[in-house]
């Protein structure tokens, strides 16, 4: 009979105590697995620290919020930038690329975030050396949409599918569904980034949606507030005001020709963006633009890489350390539980040990049997914990994704998890040592006589 069989039999003899102690290890390992996987998810989501862009330009506010909302599509953006900012950047020789980003709506089905942008967004790399691949084609008409891989999968959308936008997000009770319908003309190949969960619509179409352009007077007011002036002449303002009036009449309920009304292109002054992704001619320009944020510019130039690094170091890193310490403590407490369980059983089991010794078992043999029990409890509990942890993550992954906006696979596995078992083996050895020594020292003659 193999020693491990003898150890298993002994554990089964104390089935309840053994199960409880193994379960406590399982809970510790389960938590450890969840922490490791979630940390891995965070790291993977935020480690994409080369974005294909040098800077993100947004209205002044929280730089973290700007990066999270525009790059990771987590949370909502704060404030708006006049379209003129984008126009000026297009003409700025220091800036080689400028891609406009307008956000705020979600899809009616699935609540995926909408980004209004131009086809240029897909022509540039989304990360260092990684290009978009579109199945289908880029934007052609105003109401064309390109969807991320997860959107296509989850909503079962393909080329030609129609989609509508909900204003302000699904959680916004006042949000209404826009009448305008977009058509899917392109599906992005999986990127492993937030783009997979995003629906991109043509920026022109985005502004053409009722309520997405700002009323003229308010728009001019905002432009002046932002730049200190407006580029519009009195005559242009008069013309735009007349167009706006005509538009309002055409859209009024019951108005003649409401359904067939031709939409005029939205004038730039009435367009506002969430952000502009830019590439600069060189790092010095990026630095200068970053500095200009501090010198009274109404726009904010954020280096996303630096912002995310700060987030990882200041928040995620500390949070991870805290969780590691807590789960480590849980495993140690479970280990103490195993130790107490085995050690307490030793007084009852001295007789068994003495019998085995009388049958010819060596001291080292009984030592090994007790140590094997400790290993079985730790490793068995660890395996159960691994299963429970991944089971829980498998079930919770879609919810975590939905709630946090982080991309997460149901099968997420961190290679660092492989370290758990050597650690548990070490712990088992440590825990089993004293009881095993007790077994080793058992006085056979005296124990059998008693």
């Amino acid at each position: 009979m193999r020693l491990v069989t003898i150890a298993t039999k002994s554990l089964r003899q104390r089935a309840l105590a053994s199960s409880l102690t193994a379960f406590s290890v399982a809970l510790g390992v389960m938590l450890m697995v969840i922490v490791l996987v979630l940390h891995g998810v965070l790291e993977r989501n935020f480690r994409q620290n080369n974005f294909g862009y040098d800077m993100i330009v947004g209205p002044k506010g929280s730089d973290l919020q700007l990066v999270l909302s525009t790059v990771y599509r987590i949370g909502n953006p704060e404030g708006l930038l006049p379209y003129r900012v984008y126009r000026e950047m297009q003409n700025d020789p220091r800036i080689t690329e400028a891609v406009p980003i307008a956000m705020g709506d979600v899809t009616e089905e699935g609540g995926f975030k909408i980004i209004g942008t131009t086809s240029r967004y897909f022509e540039l790399e989304y990360a260092d050396g990684r290009e978009f691949y579109i199945l289908g084609k880029a934007f052609g008409t105003d109401f064309d949409a390109i969807i991320g891989a997860d959107v296509a999968r989850d909503n079962r959308w393909g080329l030609g599918s129609k989609l509508k936008l909900v204003h302000g997000g699904l959680e916004n009770k006042d949000g209404h569904t826009h009448d305008e319908e977009f058509t899917v003309v392109g599906i992005l190949k999986r990127t492993g980034t937030a783009n997979d969960k995003t629906v991109f619509v043509n920026l022109e179409g985005f502004f053409a949606i009722g309520g997405h352009d700002t009323p003229l007077d308010e728009a001019i007011g905002r432009e002046i507030e932002f730049f200190g002036n407006t580029t519009l002449t009195e005559r242009e303002i008069e013309r735009l005001r007349a167009e706006e009036l005509e538009e309002a009449k055409a859209h009024a309920p019951g108005a003649e020709g409401h359904a067939h009304h031709h939409h005029h292109a939205t004038p730039d002054v009435k367009k506002f963006l969430t952000a502009v992704f830019i590439k600069t001619r060189n790092q010095a320009v990026a630095y200068m633009l970053g500095e200009s944020s501090r010198r009274g510019s109404k726009a904010m130039y954020v280096n996303p890489q630096r912002t995310i690094q700060a987030l990882m170091i200041n928040f995620v890193g500390k949070f991870r350390t805290l969780l590691f310490v807590l789960t480590g403590l849980i495993i140690i407490v479970s280990g103490v539980g195993i130790f107490v369980s085995i050690y307490n059983s030793m007084s009852d089991r001295k007789k068994e040990i003495a019998i085995m010794r009388a049958l010819g078992a060596r001291r080292s043999t009984v030592f090994t049997i007790i140590l094997a029990e400790s290993f079985l409890l730790c490793v068995g509990g660890g395996a159960l914990g691994l299963f429970l942890g991944h089971g829980l993550l498998f079930v919770a992954a879609p919810t975590i994704e939905m709630q946090s906006g982080l991309l997460m696979s149901r099968w997420a596995f961190e290679t660092v998890e492989l370290v758990i078992f050597p650690v548990l083996m070490g712990l088992a050895g440590l825990i089993g040592l004293l009881p095993a020594l007790t077994a080793y020292r058992t006085d056979v003659a005296r124990t059998l006589a008693s």
Binding site: M356, L359, G360, A449
Partner: protein, 224 residues
């Protein structure tokens, strides 16, 4: 000779610091295949003698020749190995492991020897002691008589040269007593195993080839 003791001395140190001499055996011999009953008063050293013969306890001095080998000269691991291979033990309180079935207890009997009994061999042994129908039963599911039968089968599992039995029938009723004694004697005879049984019961002792009183050959030293 199967068992031969020469000038074996064993004493224990008491908690108070005094030394208690338990064994002082100038000579004791049991021939191969012989079945000897050892009688004597309680506390006379019978169990200690069995422990010395089995190698559980090392003597302070003297020679303990089992099957021609002086186990007193072996270190502890050597004695353990020797015991696992050559000695069978039947205890007063059966000492079966409660977590193991009858079959597993028998298998355990040879688990620590270099050559262990096969499953078929263990089943055959249990059938020999009349427990072929109890293979998967645990000790607590069996009567005391059946438990002691399992203990006998376990003692024979490693094909011992010597079978040592310490009051094997003290805890069983008179009906089972005779059966167990018969079993020990018959199975040992079939396998040419030397038997040394400790008992305080003269009637039981009388059933064996030879009856020795420990007091006749053991002269523990009296502390001065």
């Amino acid at each position: 000779m199967s068992i031969e003791l020469r000038n074996v001395r064993k004493s224990f140190r008491l908690p108070g610091g005094e030394t208690l001499s338990v064994l002082n055996v100038p000579e004791f011999k049991v021939a191969r295949g012989e079945q000897v009953a050892l009688v004597g008063s309680s506390g006379g050293g019978k169990t200690t003698l069995l422990n010395v013969i089995s190698g559980i306890t090392a003597p302070d001095s003297g020679e303990v020749l089992i099957d021609g080998r002086d186990i007193a000269k072996l270190h502890e691991v050597g004695r353990d190995r020797f015991r696992a291979a050559k000695i069978g033990f039947v205890f007063q309180t059966f000492n079966l492991l409660p977590a193991f079935t009858a079959l597993e207890n028998v298998l355990l009997g040879s688990s620590f020897a270099s050559q262990s009994i096969s499953r078929a061999g263990a089943i055959e042994l249990l059938q020999r002691v009349g427990l072929g129908h109890r293979l998967s039963h645990r000790p607590q599911q069996m009567s005391v008589g059946e438990q002691q039968r399992v203990a006998v089968a376990r003692a024979m599992a490693n094909r011992p040269v010597v079978l040592l039995a310490d009051e094997p029938t003290a805890n069983v009723d008179s009906t089972n007593q005779a059966g167990i004694l018969q079993l020990i004697r018959e199975t040992s005879r079939e396998n040419n195993v030397t038997v040394l049984i400790v008992t305080h019961d003269r009637d039981i002792a009388a059933q064996f080839d030879r009856v020795d009183n420990l007091a006749d050959f053991n002269r523990p030293e009296v502390a001065v």
